[in-house]
Symmetry: D2
Subunit: 421 residues, 4 copies
């Protein structure tokens, strides 16, 4: 018969408490550095679990005010679980990582999407909207999320780690710092800064370390905001549970770290804190392909997406070109970022016709499984990008019909306690 003896659960390699600040917990770190020791070592083939704190390290609460979003300390964010060394991995190998599952904690069935202010994090439209802090809390009901702050929608999650990557070598780290410093130097005084450079303030490695090593890591460690050659904070929604990813290995053991779990996200992750951010548990399995970097010409990770991503086949698609049609009408030169923004603004305007506030629409497109395709990127001077809104996530019919759109009252998302919007 079935017994506990013949039922072996998958081991948890990193355990955290999602209700305790990251900086008080073991097995977390928030910088990239080759000298951060492996927190644990796994064998190829072994299935294991890592518990992950949410990307802010528990700074955000399940409530109806966005003050916590306004006050997030961004020097402390992206507390990753790991590093996890894989036995036998060597530089030049390819580390194959099966992302077997990504789930919230049973005791914490909620997540959030936030709009950050221009001065603290920003977001795609921080300048255009002069965004003030706002947020939506999402309740998790099994495979679905819905929000009291954005009524009228419910969708299945395409759950994934926003951030997963191998540790950089010293050379790679130096390259990152050099090129990002150059960018910052080209834009003195930019708000927000064009890149966040290494800074000791807020740095954290939840391990016992010699002080000089700790100081070195804190001083040199790369910040975690951008995705880079090793993966990192790529925020690719389709690198979801069920996918298999191939990472370059830069140091002995590979030293994989992961965090920033998302219950769901739209292509683009518009608001910056745009996914449904959550604390949770990721289940992984690894293997090593000797010399895989050369075998597969890996300059960056490649992956096989999951067979279980949500399928919403009916969509309404918005086009965008690289002309600032929602702003001053300026013509840009084959700029896919501008084109993406126009498609998004076209969609936001449409959602506002349905009764959503601008903030609700902005949050919704960040969090729901919208798809954004690069349409064409060669028809000078206009790149064309599309954004596809899945119809099946709405309770009501939102199609463009003869009689126009029905405007409903959906209230407002969570805003600042001082009422400033």
């Amino acid at each position: 018969m079935a017994t506990a003896a013949n039922s072996v659960p998958h081991p948890t390699i990193v355990s955290i408490d999602p209700f305790v600040l990251a900086t008080e917990q073991k097995g977390l770190h928030n910088r990239w550095h080759p000298d951060i020791p492996a927190y644990a070592t796994v064998k190829p083939g072994q299935v294991f679990k890592l518990q992950c704190i949410d990307w802010t390290g528990a700074q955000i609460g399940n409530n109806d005010s966005s003050d916590d979003i306004k006050d997030v300390d961004l020097t402390k964010i992206h507390n990753l679980s790991g590093p996890i060394a894989v036995e036998g991995a060597e530089p030049g190998d390819c580390l194959v990582v099966d992302i077997l599952d990504v789930t919230p904690f049973e005791k914490m069935p909620w997540g959030y999407t936030g709009i950050f202010e221009l001065e603290n994090g920003g977001g795609l439209f921080a300048r255009e909207f002069q965004s003030r802090a706002a947020k939506a809390i999402w309740d998790f009901h099994g495979v679905y999320a819905s929000s009291r702050h954005i009524p009228g929608v419910r969708f299945a999650g395409v759950s994934h780690p926003g951030l997963i990557g191998t540790a950089p070598s010293a050379e790679l780290l130096a390259t990152w710092t050099k090129r990002e410093t150059e960018l910052v130097d080209q834009h003195p005084g930019a708000v927000p800064a064009k890149a966040l450079l290494p800074i000791e303030k807020g740095a954290y490695v939840g391990q016992d370390l010699p002080e000089d090593l700790r100081a070195k890591i804190y001083k040199e460690g790369a910040r975690t905001i951008p995705g880079r050659e090793h993966g990192g904070n790529c925020d690719i929604k389709n690198l979801s549970k069920g996918s298999r990813c191939y990472f370059p290995v830069y140091i002995k053991g590979a030293n994989l770290s992961v965090g920033d779990l998302h219950f769901s996200q739209g292509d683009g992750e518009m608001t910056f804190c745009g996914a449904i951010e959550m604390a949770g548990i990721i289940t992984l399995q690894t293997s090593i392909i000797r010399g895989g970097v050369e075998k597969f010409a890996l300059k960056q990770p490649i992956f096989l997406p999951s067979p279980v991503d949500p399928l919403y086949s009916a969509k309404l698609v918005f086009e965008g070109i690289s002309v600032d049609l929602h702003g001053d009408g300026k013509q840009y030169d084959m700029d896919a970022t501008v084109a993406y923004k126009q498609a998004a603004l076209n969609c936001i305007t449409y959602l506002m016709k349905l009764g959503y506030t601008r903030e609700q629409a902005y949050l919704l497109l960040s969090a729901a499984p919208v798809e954004s395709h690069v349409g064409a990127i060669v028809d000078s001077p206009n790149a064309c990008v599309t954004l596809a809104l899945p119809l099946g996530i709405f309770e009501n019919d939102i199609l463009p019909r003869e009689e126009g759109l029905v405007k409903r009252d959906f209230g407002q998302c969570a805003i600042r306690s001082d009422g400033v919007l």
Copy 2:
């Protein structure tokens, strides 16, 4: 019983010969201008067909040399079928267009994809590759395309009009000219030019016109390369047969024009002449939504994609960030275009490991149903874009496996008769 009498075929409103140069044919035009008279008028609800010449106007042949690509006269391209007026359409209305079918001519079961040289058209990697003219001829076998110039692949077409749009008003036309002129002025001497401004040379309207009107149109008419507010050359692969598109109407009758039919295309249309370009027949049906521009906040077209696009669920995905990893390593600032290029280069390099030449890989990614998603566009300074290669289009297994990739000999695509590559 079934009789010819009770079987009424859908009428063909524009008839062309795909083997005759565009400039010798009626019902075609290659500039956008509000004063081009409607070539024909249809009633809302009527199903009708337009025959379309290929985008070069028959300049390209089914042969094994790319000399014709090298010598394309780009002042004469994008010969559109129309304009077709829709009875009752007024400025501010929304013109609903059902793209019911897009097929090649039965007598011309082939198309082509071309790489243009930097000095004549260019393409996404024209500078990086210092591209010389090259091409692939694709044979159409029912729903599939395959090419003697790119062996080892076969795929179902996601057939669509690369170019479809309503006529601009005089005001809109003036706006286009102004903004594009400003861009050109900011980049004097750029090769290729940042935008193609109105030019009389090569202009064509295949109708009897008063000479002064013809002169006005030729002088002022907008060039057709970029997509704009009215649709135009958006080259969106999913605006395919079976989709329904909602266009803003700018002038009485709407004056719809369409051309540049594609048997297939990948997201991005990389090589510029990157789709499988074909002559063919498009079947349309229209309706009008009074005041639709206001009702749906239409600054650009929106559409419902088709239920019959090819479904290749298994994919290999390549990531790209806005760092020029394949070039000088420069850090760009949240530039999705750079990120797209990196993802594409990662994929091209992978395909070369399989034995394809760089030119074959470049052509294949342009023509096959690859999907490119904007992953994240908020993680400063790195935009992240993905490019997904459908595994089902390959005859052989191309997965990254322990033993590495099998390199096969696929020959080469069509190149210049002087052998320059």
Copy 3:
């Protein structure tokens, strides 16, 4: 440039006129017999087209009366195009057939679905409904079909040959006749007959033949209604354009025949003449796998379905078990046919709540891309079968909602001129 000289259309091997009765045309036949000579021979790899008359051989008209359905001569049906010999095919080989395209004639953009009376053909519910002849004419608008006889729906076609197969050997033919005769003998006087046995009346081979050969074929030739080991009238909607099928070869040349083209069909093809029947053109390509019957253990065809079948992901699913809940409540023993019928009846009843007549609902489920799955077939005594109605084919929302279903007036389908229903 593009020229007629470098554009070679795929050859048409069988040409027919869809407006002329089958029995006046060449290249058609309506019996299975090994001695029917090949009408033409193709080489492996060659792409070719066969024109096909509709399954009744032009007996049905595009009008608003079902009298023609009532009077169909079923001894003359299933006039197939062929046989086509494939050079080199030998018994025991596997004939690989790529179904590259299936389209209606441009000059005949319509098809029909019919309900046959119990005494002439019958249908799944012929007895339960005491069906009188009825029909729906479907208009083809590119990839879509819609019907003036069943308003409120429009769907993309999953176009396929209802009937395709290789010629039987003499032994196989004898087996068929023997086993079907035994079945008929077990049910003397059944209406409709349990199987249609060989009969000279109505037999047809549109070739010049020696009289004794013709007589032999007419006397012995198997009727075409059921699918059998060689394929035949399987009416599998997913054996659609874009699919690849592997047939057993029984005689030298394989002698492939095809007909009974369907623009669309639901799983089950409920009304018997349940697909959208059409005349049209099929494009094929073949290859031979030597000894494939043994290599793949082929007792019947196997196939790879198409990547371009319509994708309607949102569905409403009806369950059925092997108890006659819509009739006398009888308990059947693990009978999937009964279970399928119950699921279908549950769906028909639901559609009637929306305002469709029973005949319209019956025709719609036969013709639209509904999916029927065998749920479970082991839970004695109840087989469970499901039938899934795609929501995207309806103009209006048909979901079960709090407020109940909205009943609309959809008129009625075409019925008999004497008004009998």
Copy 4:
């Protein structure tokens, strides 16, 4: 910040221990009867969890012998969690049930598929194969299952409750007993019996009950093997997590019961214990539609399938007709069950060419997400049913190729300790 106080987990209404025999636990029952009291009551809208024991009630172990399968006591099976009353539900209402999630216990990451012997349970091919007990243990790795007993495959689960339904009224229960008794009476001495009638032996209700009530329930309670009007053991794989089901309500409170959780299952559930059977947790939410039985003409449940079912678009499809081609060649009359069996046997034979044993193939088709469609059910005398094998679940290419199939050694599944097969 995130706190336990603002994080409210969904309540667990039925708690069980998967390692303790069902008959020692509360909140379980294994008969259908209107008088079984509700074990708990929920409000409409409330999200709640039910823990479920596996269908045998912990009789099967994670080991390499099938002796436990051989010895299962079938009088004790299908121990359901519940009944759960829903506040306000009345006969004639429709109970809407959202199946929000279905997961295994974290401490029991495995399940099993079993072949039962003819004398104890049987299965689709119990007679044809003269099956001896066999089983496969499946390990759960996040969204995937794989088995040491069936190497070479891995697939994502389409997880669902095999059994879910509302309680019957006394009248409905009487109807069931009457019709099933009649069937048994028509087949005296059948092995296995045509239906399992009420029997006191093995009956169980895990609640404190008055003895006379318990006796009544045990004596009259319907067995749980077949699905019926109320749902029950329908074993529909697509009634999976993320689906919404509409049940008829027969008694006050509706009294919903659920169990027999499946990690995955193929259409048909061939071996009888054919799914990947597991203990686990189901998350539900309900609502009530007043008078829904009449509103939606509900004779049986209807449902909206989930957007997160696994998508394996590439398939190899096997056909089957109602002729016993794998047996004595007998012609059946439009029998979809026979047709399903032939398709399944064709597929099993194919899998054996790849090296799987008959038992492995039989188990695999039962457990993997194979799709079985009713092709056509009107072409007398042959029903046609297809079975589609997803290619993406295999580690290696299994396509029919020129060179034939590669036969590998996959060992054998778990068999009886006496070695009898």
